[in-house]
C-alpha cells in the first residue's frame, strides 16, 4: 500500500489550500465527496492480466506507481519515480453534453529524478482532465498518459516504456518485468482500515529490469537498474484517525523483495492494519503483520519548511530474524508539489554490508 495521495483531488488546481501538516488531516476522502455509487474493494477478486494493468473506472482512485534505482556506466547513481493517479469525479461517465471537454476523471502525475552525484532532487507534476485525449489509460495495449508523460507497452508481454520529460529533466526507460504480477494483501485485497470497505486492490511487479537514459539539463546518462511497479485501486481506504504512513520497498541482492507499510495513527503508533510481504527469490511469499516488523528511525532530516523526516531507519524482521540498516541515498528527496511528501531512493545494509536498494515513502510528518 502507500501512496494514498488521494486527497490530491482536493489540492488539484489549488482549489483547496494544502493542509498544513502534509496530509495530516483526514487522508483519503475529500469532505462532502460521498462514495455512493462507486465500487468498493470489500472482497477478494480474481485478477486477470493484461486487463488489470488497465483502468478500473468504477473505483474512485487508482494509480500506476513506478520507482527505481539506476546507475550509469561510470557508476553514477540515480533514483526515479513516476506516478499516474486517476481520480474519478463520478461513478458513471459524465452525461454527454456535446463537448469534448466533458470529463469523468481527472489525472495527476508526479515525476522525480534523484541525482546523487549532482546532489539534486528534480521533481515535477502534471494535472489534466480525461478529455480531448489530454490524459487517460487503456489496457490493451497498455497506455497510461497524462499529457506528454506516458507509460506504454506496444503489446502484451513486450517491455514497458516510460517517457516523461520536464523542463529540466527527462526519463526514458524500457522496463522488462522479471516475473508475473505479485498480489499483495490477501490475494490482492489489501486492508487499510478497520471498516471492511476500507481496503484496496493491490498488486506489484517488484522487479522490472530497466534500461534507458536520463537527461538533466544538457547532460545525458545511459542508465540501467531495477524498477518496482505498484498498482492499486480503491474507493475508500484509510480510517479517519490514520495520520500518515511509512512505506518501504526493498530489492535485495539475494533476489528477494520486501514491501512493508506502517500506518501511523495520530499518536504516531503503528495501526494494526500495517502489513507487508517478503517475496523470496524462489517466489515464495511470507506475509508480514504489524508484529512481525519493528521500525526504528535512526536519523532525521529537516526540510526547508521545518518538517523533519526520518531518513535512516532500522527495519527488523522478527520472524526470519534479519536486521536491515536503511539509509536514504540523499536526504533531500522531498516531493515539494501540490501534495508534499518524502519519497526517495534508499540503500539497504545488513551487518555493515550493502545488501540491496529500494524506495521509501513517508507522509504525514
Amino acid at each position: 500500500m502507500k501512496h494514498l495521495l488521494l486527497l490530491a483531488i482536493a489540492l488539484l488546481c489549488g482549489c483547496v489550500e494544502a493542509p498544513p501538516p502534509a496530509l495530516s488531516g483526514a487522508p483519503g476522502v475529500p469532505a462532502g465527496w460521498g462514495n455512493e455509487g462507486f465500487l468498493r474493494a470489500d472482497r477478494p477478486r480474481a485478477f486477470s492480466f493484461p486487463e488489470d494493468h488497465g483502468p478500473h473506472d468504477g473505483y474512485r482512485s487508482e494509480w500506476w506507481y513506478l520507482t527505481g534505482n539506476l546507475r550509469d556506466r561510470s557508476g553514477r547513481r540515480f533514483g526515479y519515480q513516476f506516478t499516474a493517479f486517476r481520480i474519478a469525479l463520478l461513478p458513471q461517465p459524465t452525461p454527454q453534453r456535446g463537448s469534448a471537454w466533458s470529463a469523468s476523471h481527472i489525472w495527476m502525475a508526479h515525476l522525480a529524478l534523484t541525482d546523487v552525484a549532482g546532489e539534486r532532487h528534480h521533481h515535477d507534476e502534471r494535472f489534466a482532465r480525461e478529455a480531448l485525449g489530454l490524459a487517460g489509460a487503456q489496457a490493451e495495449p497498455l497506455r497510461v498518459w497524462v499529457e506528454d508523460w506516458q507509460l506504454s507497452q506496444s503489446a502484451f508481454e513486450r517491455p514497458w516504456q516510460l517517457r516523461a520529460a520536464s523542463d529540466r529533466f527527462t526519463i526514458e526507460l524500457q522496463l522488462a518485468p522479471a516475473h508475473p504480477p505479485r498480489l499483495q494483501g490477501e490475494a490482492g485485497l489489501s486492508r487499510k482500515g478497520r471498516d471492511p470497505g476500507n481496503a484496496s486492490y493491490y498488486y506489484s511487479i517488484t522487479r522490472l529490469a530497466s534500461a534507458g537514459r536520463v537527461r538533466i539539463g544538457d547532460d545525458e546518462f545511459l542508465v540501467d537498474g531495477d524498477s518496482w511497479l505498484d498498482r492499486e485501486w480503491s474507493t475508500s481506504a484509510l480510517d479517519p484517525d490514520q495520520a500518515g504512513w511509512d512505506w518501504f520497498s526493498l530489492q535485495l541482492d539475494d533476489g528477494s523483495d520486501l514491501m512493508f507499510y506502517r500506518l501511523r495513527d495520530r499518536g504516531g503508533n503503528a495501526s494494526p492494519q500495517s502489513a507487508g510481504n517478503l517475496f523470496l527469490a524462489d517466489g515464495r511469499r511470507i506475509a508480514l503483520r504489524r508484529e512481525d516488523v519493528t521500525l526504528t528511525p535512526r536519523r532525521w532530516w529537516r526540510s526547508d519548511d521545518g518538517r523533519s523526516y526520518p531518513v535512516a531507519w532500522t527495519l527488523t524482521l522478527n520472524g526470519p530474524a534479519r536486521r536491515f540498516e536503511i539509509e536514504a541515498l540523499m536526504d533531500a528527496q522531498l516531493m515539494a508539489l501540490s501534495v508534499r511528501y518524502w519519497e526517495g531512493a534508499i540503500e539497504v545494509r545488513e551487518a555493515g554490508d550493502r545488501v540491496g536498494h529500494g524506495y521509501l515513502e513517508m507522509t504525514g510528518y
Partner: protein
C-alpha cells in the same frame, strides 16, 4: 497687531457671511465635481485594471484565431506534442443576467493554476459539480451579493437571444478577494455547451519565455496568431480612456468656472475693505502682513470649501461611478464597478486642487489689497480708472490666447491633449475679452437709455461701465458658466441628432431578422427562398457578421449582399472610388467605418490586408462610411467575396423590404412561423424598434454627460448668484448716497433689478458665441480625436433660450435680496454700514 489684523479679517468674513458662504459654496461645488468625476474615473480604471489583473494573471501571450475561434485540438497538440505547460484554454462569450451584460468565461480548472487565480478556493464537491454537472457556473462574490443570488440558485441567462437556465455551483471569492464583478465562471465543457461552440475555443492563454515565443511563432498554422497579452481590447480601452479624459476635462471646466467665481468673490471682498485696509496701513500694518492676511483668509475659505467639496464629491461619486461604469460597459467592454475605490491620494489631490485654485484666484485681489496706501480713504475712482486702463490689455491678452488656441488646433491635428489645451486657451482668451465687450456694449446702450430710460435705468447702465472692476469680472464669470452649459448641451444634442439620422439612414430595410450563430447555411438558404416566396416581401438583403482579429485589435467584418435600396444606407466621408458599388459587388472593394479609418489613417484608394483562412488577402478601400455603432471598427465587403475567401455560407442577419401599402402583420406572422425552427436565437425586429432601442441605449450612455452638465449649470447658477449679490451688496454705500440724494426706494429697487438683469442679459448674449465656439471644438475636435466620429453640429434654439434664461434668472434672483434690503434700510443707516 497681528491678532487685531486677524480679528478684522474674521469680523469681515462673519459680517459678510452670505458672501463668505457663497464663496465657500463655489469652491465646494467645484471641488466636488472634479473629485466626483476623478473618483468615478479612477474607480472604473481600477476596477478594470483589477479585473484585467485577475483575468490575465500571469498570462504573457494569447493564441487567437483570425476568425475569432480556434480548433480545440490544437490545445491538446500544444500540451502533448509540444509539452507546453503554462497554457490554458478559454471559451468566452457574452451573456445577459438580470438585464446586465456579463462575460462568461469557460476555463479548465486543472490548467488554471500556473496562470492565474481566478477560480476561488472551492471545496472538492463544488469542483466536481462544476466539472460534471452541465450548465453550472460560479458567480463572483460581488455580483452575487449585488444581485442577491446564492449557491444552488437557478438563474436565467440570455445567450445570443436564447434563454438558458443555469445553476450557481458556488460563489467565487469573498468580500476580501476581488474576483471581478460582471464575470461568470464555468467549466470549459459547460461554457462550450452554453455558448454553442462545439469543437472550438475562443483562445489559448500562455505564459511563454522569449524562446518559446520564437519556436511557437515559427510553427503556427495559418489562421492563428500569437499576440502579447494586454493587446486585446486595446482599442476599446483607448476609446474608453478617451471617454474618461472627456469627463475629466469637463469636470475641470466646472472647476474653472468655480475658480472664476472665487476670484470674483475675493475681488469684491478686497474692494469692500479698501478703506479698512487704508486704515490698517495707517496703523502700521505692512503690505506683507496685509497680503498674508488675505491669503490666510482665502486659505481658510479654500480649506473649508475643499473639505466640504471632498465630502460632497465623495457622495456624488457614489452615483457617478455607476453611470460611468454603465457607459463603459455599454460602449466599450464588460465592466462592473461594485464599489467606489477611493485612495487617500485622490482625496488629497482633490483637496489640494481646491486650495490651490482658491489661492490662485485670490492672488490678484490680495496683491491689490497689499498695494493699499496708508490713507483713510483710498479713492474709488482711481481704482476704476485703473480697471478701465486694463481693459485693452486684457482684451489683447485674450486675443493672443484665442489666436494661440486657434493655432494649436490647426498645427496639432492629432492628439486629445492638444485639443483640450486649445479648448482651454480659447475659453480663457474669450473670457479676457469679456470686460472689453461689456464696456463696448454698455457704451453703445448709453445713448439709448439716456433718451428713453428713467433715472433708475440710466443709473443702472452707467453704473455698469462705471464700476467695471466688478461688473466686468462678474459678467466674465457668468459668461463662462453659461457658455459651458451651452456647449455641453450642444454637443449632446448634436450627437443624438447625428446618431438618430444615421440610424434612419442605415436601417433601410423594413424588418430585420437576426439568426443565431449556430444556424447552418442550408437552413438559412431554405429560409431565404421561403421568404422570397412570401406575398408581402419585396426584396431581401443578407449580412454575415463576424469578429476578425487584426494586428491592430479585433474588428467586425460584415459581408453584405445588398438590396436595391441598401446603398442608401451608407453615407461616406470624403471621396469614394469611382463606380463604387459595381466594384464593391464585384468583390474588389472594402468599405471601412470612419472610427477605424481615422485611427488607422485610411482613406479611399488605400489598400488593406485581411487575414483569411487561406492566408492574407489584399483589399482596396473603396470608401470610408460614417458609423456610430459601438464597434471600434467595422469593415464591409461583398457577400460573394466573403464566401469566396472565408468559405463560410452562413447568414447572420436578413434585411427584409416589404411592399409598401400593404399591412405588415400577416407577413410578420408568416416570417415568425418560418423562423420558428431556429429557436429563440432568431429575432425579428421592425426598423423603428431597432432605432428606438439604439437611441435608448444612446441616451443611457449619455446620462453621465447630462448629469455633469446639470452640475455645471448648478455651479453656474450659484456662482452668478454669489457674484451678483456680492457686487450689489458692495455698492450699498453708493446706493445709500443715492437714496440720501432723493432716490425713492422704488427707484432704487428698479435700479438694482434693471442693472442685474442687464448684466445677466449681457452675460447671456456674450455666452452665445463662446458656447458655440466651445461646442464646435468639442464636436469637431475633441470627439473626432477621441472616437473618430464626425458629428453634424447643431445649435438648437431651445438651448440658446435656456442659456439666456439661466443667466437672467440667476442674476435677477441675485438682485432680489440686496435690492429689498437696501430699499428698506434708512439711508443714514446704510451709509453708516461701511
Amino acid at each position: 497687531m497681528v491678532s487685531l489684523l486677524h480679528r478684522s479679517g474674521r469680523r469681515h468674513l462673519l459680517r459678510h457671511r452670505w458672501q463668505s458662504a457663497l464663496a465657500i459654496l463655489g469652491i465646494t461645488l467645484g471641488v466636488a465635481v472634479v473629485l466626483a468625476v476623478e473618483l468615478a474615473n479612477q474607480s472604473a480604471r481600477r476596477a478594470f485594471a483589477l479585473s484585467l489583473e485577475q483575468i490575465e494573471g500571469r498570462v504573457s501571450h494569447r493564441l487567437v484565431g483570425v476568425g475569432g475561434t480556434l480548433d480545440e485540438n490544437f490545445y491538446r497538440q500544444l500540451r502533448r506534442a509540444d509539452g507546453l505547460r503554462e497554457i490554458a484554454p478559454v471559451i468566452e462569450g457574452e451573456v445577459v443576467l438580470h438585464g446586465e451584460r456579463f462575460k462568461l468565461l469557460g476555463l479548465d480548472p486543472l490548467a488554471e493554476r500556473p496562470l492565474r487565480s481566478l477560480l476561488p478556493k472551492l471545496d472538492s464537491l463544488q469542483l466536481r459539480t462544476l466539472m460534471t454537472t452541465p450548465d453550472t457556473v460560479l458567480l463572483p462574490y460581488a455580483s452575487a451579493a449585488r444581485l442577491a443570488i446564492g449557491t444552488n440558485d437557478r438563474i436565467e441567462l440570455e445567450i445570443a437571444g436564447e434563454r438558458r437556465s443555469v445553476t450557481v455551483a458556488g460563489i467565487a471569492g469573498d468580500s476580501g478577494t476581488a474576483v471581478p464583478d460582471g464575470l461568470l465562471l464555468a467549466d470549459i465543457a459547460s461554457a462550450q455547451t452554453l455558448l454553442r461552440m462545439p469543437g472550438v475555443i475562443s483562445r489559448i492563454e500562455l505564459r511563454l519565455n522569449d524562446d518559446d515565443v520564437r519556436k511557437l511563432a515559427a510553427r503556427l498554422p495559418a489562421g492563428m496568431r500569437l499576440e502579447r497579452a494586454g493587446r486585446r481590447d486595446s482599442t476599446s480601452r483607448a476609446l474608453s480612456d478617451a471617454f474618461q479624459t472627456n469627463l475629466s476635462a469637463m469636470s475641470l471646466l466646472a472647476l474653472l468656472v468655480g475658480a472664476f467665481l472665487i476670484y470674483n468673490a475675493m475681488t469684491v471682498s478686497v474692494l469692500q475693505r479698501r478703506a479698512q485696509f487704508g486704515t490698517l496701513r495707517l496703523l502700521g500694518v505692512t503690505r506683507g502682513e496685509l497680503f498674508r492676511l488675505l491669503l490666510g483668509e482665502t486659505l481658510l475659505i479654500g480649506a473649508f470649501g475643499s473639505v466640504l467639496g471632498l465630502l460632497l464629491g465623495w457622495l456624488l461619486a457614489q452615483g457617478l461611478v455607476t453611470l460611468v461604469a454603465r457607459t463603459i460597459n455599454d460602449l466599450f467592454f464588460s465592466l462592473r464597478v461594485s464599489s467606489l475605490m477611493v485612495q487617500p491620494l485622490d482625496l488629497f489631490r482633490g483637496g489640494l486642487l481646491g486650495i490651490l485654485t482658491t489661492l490662485a484666484a485670490t492672488l490678484l485681489p490680495a496683491l491689490e489689497a497689499a498695494r493699499s496706501e496708508p490713507i483713510v480713504v483710498s479713492r474709488r475712482s482711481e481704482l476704476e480708472t485703473r480697471a478701465h486702463r486694463a481693459v485693452p490689455w486684457l482684451a489683447l491678452a485674450g486675443i493672443v490666447s484665442l489666436l494661440a488656441g486657434g493655432a494649436m488646433l490647426v498645427l496639432f491635428r492629432d492628439g486629445l491633449l492638444a485639443g483640450f489645451v486649445a479648448l482651454f486657451l480659447l475659453i480663457i482668451g474669450y473670457s479676457l475679452c469679456v470686460p472689453g465687450g461689456v464696456l463696448l456694449i454698455t457704451r453703445a446702450l448709453q445713448p439709448l437709455t439716456e433718451r428713453f430710460g428713467g433715472i433708475g435705468t440710466r443709473l443702472a447702465v452707467r453704473g455698469i461701465s462705471a464700476s467695471l472692476s466688478r461688473t466686468g469680472l462678474a459678467v466674465a464669470a457668468l459668461t463662462l458658466a453659461v457658455a459651458t452649459t451651452l456647449a455641453m448641451g450642444t454637443m449632446i444634442s448634436s450627437f443624438r441628432t447625428t446618431v438618430s439620422d444615421w440610424l434612419e439612414q442605415t436601417l433601410q430595410g423594413d424588418l430585420y431578422l437576426s439568426l443565431p450563430e449556430r444556424a447552418n447555411a442550408a437552413a438559412a438558404a431554405q429560409l431565404i427562398s421561403d421568404l422570397h416566396r412570401l406575398q408581402g416581401v419585396r426584396e431581401l438583403s443578407m449580412g454575415r457578421s463576424r469578429p476578425l482579429e487584426l494586428a491592430t485589435g479585433q474588428v467586425r467584418l460584415l459581408a453584405l449582399q445588398t438590396a436595391s435600396r441598401s446603398h442608401r444606407g451608407f453615407t461616406f466621408k470624403g471621396h469614394t472610388l469611382a463606380s463604387l458599388w459595381p466594384r464593391f459587388h464585384a468583390g474588389e472593394l472594402l468599405l471601412v467605418s470612419e472610427p477605424y479609418a481615422y485611427r488607422e489613417h485610411l482613406q479611399a484608394g488605400d489598400s488593406m490586408t485581411l487575414p483569411t483562412p487561406a492566408g492574407p488577402v489584399e483589399f482596396l478601400v473603396g470608401g470610408v462610411f460614417h458609423d456610430y455603432g459601438t464597434n471600434p471598427g467595422l469593415l464591409v465587403m461583398a457577400m460573394s467575396s466573403y464566401r469566396h475567401h472565408w468559405r463560410d455560407q452562413r447568414i447572420s442577419t436578413l434585411g427584409i423590404f416589404l411592399h409598401s401599402g400593404q399591412p405588415w402583420e400577416p407577413t410578420i406572422s408568416a416570417i415568425r412561423r418560418l423562423t420558428a425552427s431556429f429557436g429563440e436565437g432568431a429575432s425579428l425586429a421592425a426598423n423603428g424598434e431597432i432605432r428606438a432601442r439604439s437611441l435608448a441605449l444612446f441616451d443611457r450612455t449619455f446620462t453621465v454627460t447630462r448629469v455633469l452638465r446639470l452640475l455645471v449649470v448648478l455651479i453656474a447658477f450659484v456662482g452668478i448668484l454669489s457674484a451678483f449679490m456680492a457686487m450689489q451688496l458692495e455698492r450699498s454705500r453708493e446706493y445709500a448716497t443715492l437714496r440720501a440724494t432723493g432716490l425713492t426706494p422704488g427707484e432704487l429697487l428698479r435700479l438694482v433689478v434693471v442693472q442685474s438683469a442687464l448684466l445677466g442679459l449681457l452675460a447671456g448674449v456674450l455666452a452665445l458665441p463662446l458656447g458655440w465656439l466651445m461646442g464646435e471644438t468639442l464636436i469637431e475636435v475633441i470627439n473626432l480625436r477621441s472616437f473618430g466620429w464626425t458629428l453634424q453640429s447643431l445649435l438648437p434654439l431651445p438651448l440658446l433660450g435656456e442659456a439666456l434664461l439661466l443667466a437672467l434668472s440667476a442674476s435677477l434672483l441675485a438682485a432680489l435680496y440686496p435690492a429689498l434690503r437696501l430699499s428698506r434700510l434708512p439711508p443714514a443707516a446704510a451709509m453708516r454700514e461701511e
